[in-house]
Symmetry: D2
């Protein structure tokens, strides 16, 4: 059983009627719902407004894969929780950072770059798979159409990914490395660009398939009790 | 001094008046001309119709970087010459494969895959740099516009590149890994997608800058006398 | 159920009494035996002396992962069979090349380099994992000791691997990239250096664990009916 | 002209007579001396005890490549200076981290992992090149012998390197990824393991050649005025 915690800052859905209509249970609710339909996945939720943002040691100890959605409140996440999440990733917890989570403190501290990019409201996207043998691409056979999506464009300031799985084509004339993986310590990381809060992107079956694949890919076969130690040999 | 040999199958420019008008000295002539303006580069030419396609041992022994343009006559290149070129790449000769050279025998034997792709006549492209620290990208600061270009799209069946430097956005709705590098033995390889024969793409200053950068990047600091040997240690 | 075909040239075990005593059922018999104990893996065998080396279209159509052990008879493998195996790898069949299979025609045509290396009789090896998050390393927690092993040393003329999982330390003073992965088309490839025919290396539980992990990693989630095609878009 | 700043914490050489005898001008003095003999390189020095550790905005603005040697005083480097160095790396300043600099704050914040490893006093090392086509390996044809060196061994907790250039073999039975590269933003990073303070390793011509090669490789063709920005397109 893969234990997933879906974390959401959960602000837009409460503040804007239009967004609440798209995601009445929150973005986390939508993601948790489709993940929970799989027999091998169980889901818990955590949000910014909970004590310690819902990410206590107890919660993270029982999390195999953490999904992160955040946008307007990155700086509200406490440094202590960021350090704790990083520690768990280095020990093997998988991390799936969605859309604007590229700018989360967690991603910045793990990747070391700015993760800055180009962006634009109101665009349309096609996702292409450039790594069909990768398990995250299993079952994705055609380009995925996102009728409405915010544009994220290059240059995207990330380290060289371990693997690049999806490229995004934007109607307005931009490309983006939309699905990329990294490893930090024992932890596997998948960054996936789709998912602007105003559009019902996480309801699309192929997007759900990719995130489900990513959960299975990122789940550790073993989580370490502590980060890799310094060892003096004799 | 970097010794470049520009190889061209040189058929389209002779057979079609429209293409001859674009490249009256052949595509190789155009490429050799802009490269030759650099003090550190000297250029020779070779074409399909020469004996041994102009790629004798003598010529290759004096070649630091081979540029390859071919399209309709890949199967006219003799297996012996292909094997010879491969041998020189493995010993350190740089190889720059342009546009439809992706399907050349030389590229297929070095990379091991089909290099198949999607394509379409009459499109328009924007090239984005996704690896600005790479020496091949030096001096390229803005997206490059190719008003007219043949579309090459994903999935492009190549091995995982060592580095991905440019992505192409096509107006008709496709993306492409347009500038990618590989290493085989001591030889550095750059595949660069732009350059359909009907359009004056190799006259664009930024395209010339990229190919010139690639020549300097691919030039070996040392070319081996033979391929890496099997060595039995004592 | 993952369908594995274990291919062995099966010459040493017949010709040398000492080797037969180590592998009385052939190296393929030993490998097939430990793989077959897994509920999700079923095993067939093929050897050089069979018609078409046991690798007919029928056999390969029903093979998810091909394991290859060869040493003294690489040039006895027909080019037709090599081409057929390559075709199936590009369509998604996994390939695990063991020890001296680095010099097989199959590996050379897929990787494009010489795969030459340094070597020496009668050494001792320690295998270190440098990629503990990789599924092929699952359950491998300590360096693996091979009391007796042939030395394979650098420089090993391979393309840059997708992932490097194990490094070998040899007592006589050499290192080797002993466990590396590649992708060609839809096919995943794992090269694993241990397994000289004179030593009972494939009986070691950790070696068996690695090969079993590799089988599961290399098994395709989908095998294509043909290699990736050229597609002209409209 | 490549402007190099050699930074050293410069403590061991003052505190221990034996180390002072090896490096009477400090490790930085030795490194600066051999680099300075090249017509295209000019050298400045900075040490921990200087105001702002010698790494003011003015100094970094005039630095193309920063070399870093530190060991026992990593935590004495102020967070402000670490952040400033990181900013310059992201803007294109090359960084060469030597030996125990793996544990510097600068490396940890750029790479995101612990950089923990195994270690042992009093060992002997052989360095092998596994990437002979890389410019950092130019002119290195044989394994490099370090008669006396501290052992650094795997598992080394780093992200997947962009390129792996050298592997280290240690007599006591360990291997190490001794020369690896990373890119962060516009900045190129080379980590190179040799150089324990008690042994005259930086006097060895081949070690000097590698560090000199690395300086030329890491020098930016352009340093940005600021880190890559967020850009809203219209």
């Amino acid at each position: 059983m893969i234990r997933v915690t879906v974390w959401n800052e959960y602000i837009h859905e409460r503040e804007y009627e239009g967004i609440r209509q798209v995601y009445p249970k929150g973005i986390h609710g939508c993601i948790g719902e489709f993940l929970g339909k799989n027999d091998d996945i169980c889901v818990k939720y955590a949000t910014l407004d909970m004590p310690e943002h819902g990410l206590t040691e107890e919660v993270l100890n029982e999390t195999d894969v953490l999904i992160w959605w955040g946008h307007c409140a990155h700086d509200k996440v406490s440094d202590e929780v960021v350090e704790r999440v990083k520690n768990h990733v280095l020990r093997g917890m998988g991390l799936i950072a969605l859309h604007s989570a590229h700018h989360s403190k967690v991603m910045k501290t793990l990747l070391g770059t700015t993760l800055n990019l180009h962006w634009k409201h109101g665009d349309s996207e096609k996702l292409f798979c450039v790594n069909p043998a990768h398990p995250i691409a299993a079952g994705i056979t055609e380009p995925i159409i996102l009728e409405n999506e915010e544009m994220y464009g290059e240059f995207f300031d990330i380290p060289k990914p371990d693997d690049e799985i999806f490229l995004g084509w934007f109607k307005s004339g931009q490309v983006f490395r939309s699905g990329v993986t990294f490893t930090r310590g024992m932890g596997k990381i998948f960054y996936f660009q789709p998912g602007h809060e105003e559009y019902p992107i996480y309801y699309q079956p192929q997007i759900q398939r990719i995130i489900t694949n990513a959960v299975r890919w990122a789940a550790p076969y073993k989580k370490l009790d502590e980060v890799f130690p310094v060892i003096q040999e004799e």
